[in-house]
Symmetry: C2
Subunit: 408 residues, 2 copies
């Protein structure tokens, strides 16, 4: 079928022809309602009339930025990469990625599992909900997806094939290059200029050339380091969660990039949430739960990544018998420490860009009281600067947590 934009009537006509979808509904009559963020894509909840609990999500990308309109073009091929990434990640670890019933790259459309009992993690964390399985789940997700799409697991030609499969996602990579690594640190029309204008802290940031030189090094890594298939935008708004389950959604920024970028994105967003509670709710117990979870995520990630590596002796990098076991262990230790360091650097970039850049986070930009908001911004910028200036010297998770705690 040639691409056409579906509405809530035509989406049903379309789905009636799709065997995989109608099998799921056991040929019940179905209806669609529009839901979802509406920023980029059309998202429909499609359900059985007879049994409304039987439902799926249908998501279609349109060739423009939906929340602005057709005058802001954004290629709908981003859905191609979202589909490929969802399938790839689901294959690696089905527990943490929605099940796909049907997808069409031609139609820029995917029909997938409806997560009925989950909420966006960012909202839960703002409401001080503790998710005690989260560190276990997300560390498994990150270690498995990153390890099994890297040159530590794949052979040389499979790794290059994987790169090719996602290499066309350059429009969204460029969005990150511009918005995360550049515009947010200089005068730019895309910034939150209502807050930037006459703001001494913003001008200080824009004039902080030492910091910005370091950001440039991180940007170059983002652009050229082909470690593993990334989600590409792994913040707490890309996670659907409840007490039992954790799902990672929306991998439209997926590409083969540096290990530390996904981990750094998550780290930045957990710390931004911590800052919110330091400044706004002042709930110390929740703050310490958050710091504890953050530290668990990083420690468990390292542990599980190394476990996968130990189980997996054959890869593009390793020729059996090449290195003595003690040296192999030392090599792996240095390798994982380097991932941790780069994660901290990327977390710093990600935190700072949320302060004045185009896309703020609810935890900080959403603070209505201007004084409190400015306080949160200062905290975020301080931690970010420590991260960006010192990430190459980090040795363990404790040092990262010390930076966060000591900055107040």
């Amino acid at each position: 079928m040639n691409y056409e934009i579906l509405n809530k009537i035509s989406v049903i006509e379309y789905l009636l022809e799709i065997k995989e979808v109608m099998d799921f509904f056991e040929d019940d009559e179905i209806v669609a309602e529009e839901i979802g963020d509406g920023n980029l894509n059309y998202v429909y909840k499609v359900k059985s009339v007879k049994n409304p609990n039987k439902a799926i999500i249908v998501k279609q990308a349109v060739p423009f930025l939906r929340c602005v309109g057709e005058e802001f073009p954004l290629s709908r091929e981003r859905m191609t990469y979202e589909i490929r990434a969802l399938k790839k990640f689901h294959n690696i670890f089905p527990n943490f990625v929605p099940k796909i019933y049907y997808s069409s790259e031609d139609m820029s459309l995917v029909a997938m599992q409806y997560l009925a009992n989950h909420i966006i993690m960012r909202e839960g964390l703002i409401d001080r909900v503790k998710y005690d399985n989260f560190s276990e789940h997300i560390s498994t997700y990150m270690s498995a997806t990153l390890f099994y799409t890297s040159s530590l697991a794949l052979n040389s030609s499979n790794k290059r094939e994987l790169i090719s499969k996602f290499n066309g996602n350059s429009e969204l990579c460029k969005l990150t290059e511009d918005l995360v690594f550049s515009f947010a640190f200089m005068e730019h029309e895309t910034n939150d200029n209502a807050n930037v204008k006459g703001n001494k802290k913003a001008l200080e940031l824009f004039a902080d050339n030492e910091f910005k030189e370091k950001i440039l090094t991180l940007k170059y890594k983002f652009m050229t380091q082909s470690d593993a298939l990334l989600h590409g935008d792994l913040h707490t708004g890309s996670i659907m969660i409840n007490q039992d389950e954790t799902y990672v959604i929306d991998p439209e920024f997926a590409f083969v990039g540096p290990f530390g970028f996904d981990i750094g994105a998550l780290l930045a967003n957990l710390i931004n949430n911590y800052i919110h509670h330091v400044v706004v709710t002042k709930d110390e117990e929740f703050q310490s739960w958050l710091l504890n979870v953050t530290s668990e995520v990083l420690n468990k990630f390292q542990e599980k990544f190394l476990n996968y590596w130990d189980e997996h002796s054959d890869s593009a990098l390793f020729v059996d018998g090449y290195l003595d076991n003690n040296f192999l262990r030392s090599y792996k230790q240095k390798f994982i420490k380097n991932i941790l360091r780069e994660s901290v650097g990327f977390a710093g970039a990600k935190m700072a860009r949320r302060v004045y850049g185009v896309a703020g986070v609810a935890e900080i930009r959403g603070i209505e009281d201007k004084t409190l908001r400015a306080e949160a911004e200062v905290l975020a910028l301080k931690i970010s600067r420590k991260f960006v200036m010192n990430y190459e010297d980090i040795n363990n998770v404790e040092e990262i947590m010390e930076i966060v705690k000591n900055v107040r």
Copy 2:
């Protein structure tokens, strides 16, 4: 035309149909003779009967390793990447790459300029011929090809397109991963085992886990660092030269990889030649000419690369006005120093792999006197080890040359 292997008769029938080739010959009668290394490909010199000075080279890849036979398959698609790289490099700087008259990826065939008055540089250097324009030429070639195919010159989507165009060359990348970075440093059937057996120095190398751990880090960079389009096998056997001109040929290993790999390959091969003259001819004047040229190549490379960079303000990495000029200069200085360091690391790997690995170089493996050969091997391994263990601390070209001179 579907792929078929041409012989010296059918190659003429084939060329008669190619307008670009017959235009070159002004429709003269033409004949072919087989020439060339014969290791991998068929290479024909095709010339005008009336005017034998009017000639071209026709090179065709076959789907096996020619010198062994059809039982050693090697995909002929390597010619696809050779053609693409020849064209790309010729576009960037036509002076240093043979002119292409015609090419066909389907036929794995290229028809190109015949270099009548040039010899393989390795042979010239063994015969102690000084090429006083070489450092000027090759530094321009390397700085231009590396700069203009990097994220410092290209925008984000053009860079990713370039990666995709060469990403399929994984068979030859894997050859490098195996032969340069792995097998040459361990017991392996592909090694020069006549020399390895009972050789104390070889066993020492194979047991040198500190060195091999460092090699692994270089291998990982080779596999994942997408800086620029590389020649991929830039040794002195891939250079055709005379007093006036320098041509770089045979880029069948081309792919987007780390800057330092091409520079390191050349550095390694110049030093291997130096070692030959230290041990065999003992010609001190030629040795000092060689060291001087090596140092010029590296210094001029850096200077020219930085000049291209200064001329070129717009790229994927740089957003105009992002960084203060002093900091931009400091960033560039660190960046180029890092290229120099990685070049030294890769040079070390390249030198050591020539000692016991599958493909030796004439300068060392070609030494007939066994004592002298062993002496050259020891020198090569000593310099290689210094390079590999210390490359991250190198600050300038003088320090590299000191390592080479002091190792005797």
